[in-house]
Subunit: 198 residues, 2 copies
Amino acid sequence: MISDELKTLIHLLSKLPGLGPRSGKRVALHLLQNRTTTLSALAESLQIVKVKVKECTVCGNLDSQDPCFLCQDPRRDTSFICVVESVADLWALERTASFKGHYHVLGGVLSALDGVGPEDLRLTSLLHRCQRGGVHEIILALNATVEGQTTSHYITERLREVGITHISSLARGVPVGGELDYLDEGTLSAALLSRRGV
Amino acid sequence: MISDELKTLIHLLSKLPGLGPRSGKRVALHLLQNRTTTLSALAESLQIVKVKVKECTVCGNLDSQDPCFLCQDPRRDTSFICVVESVADLWALERTASFKGHYHVLGGVLSALDGVGPEDLRLTSLLHRCQRGGVHEIILALNATVEGQTTSHYITERLREVGITHISSLARGVPVGGELDYLDEGTLSAALLSRRGV
């Protein structure tokens, strides 16, 4: 009873992360009720992003330039490469404004369950970057999940093969504002093991 | 630090109902990670919907035909018009498959707070439809909210002026599967007042 064009739109919207069939319908109606301010603007914006925003061939970041603005920035230290799973993680780290090196976006983590192998990750180009020389330290900033840690171990071995010795990972401990009573045992024991002198 | 094109897209996405700044980012990255299946498809679909799907000039429904398929359906009874606030409500009623008359979408309800007056609603065309004759009954299927009920009262008066005498509204009562203990007093007393012989 809904026209085919609208059905297609609702279907596509309902497949987006965080949306479902009901919210997909709501978004579609919202778009049609705000044709110029939202529908046209969004259609145009998607078209522009589709054409202009590409993956950086060096690090995998998303930008309208290639190499991306981060790779082109002369103020950033090329001897530090921070390896992240996704562009979202890169953005999260950039928000902290506490890292002034370069990034490398893997585009995923190893997962036997999802059939993701080393060849599915942006790994060869990371090794190439290291082999070109000038890399002092690789920081593995992958999620503290089983897949993230498996991937970290695998990458560490591959990096050692190409002669990288300085490899680090993010510190484990009590999050800022965290209450001990609510923390899991793994985090607490990691925080205890890595305790620091005051 | 995010390119302007991507910023615009994230901003537009985060203004959609049910989405916010964080989920807007997540959706944008999801779109860029699935270029052909999602980004291109959504951009194309929005373009098609923008061009093809219009408001029906008779009833206000959204369709690729004008008059819409509901207004054109010869099996539907033109002597019954069901007045709804939005296309979403029309869809909700159509899902029940228990109404075989025509619809009229107001496009909102009267609201002094939001500055919505009678001239902002699709009201004149409703009165015109009634004046053309052949209308036996108007069913006011507006939300059971203060605004919905105010609008119902206002429309009732206007309909009486153009000679419509059969005006009804949706029944109030215990929802199917509803437990009395959890119902508000208003609904319960309405259900009691409208009690039916068994």
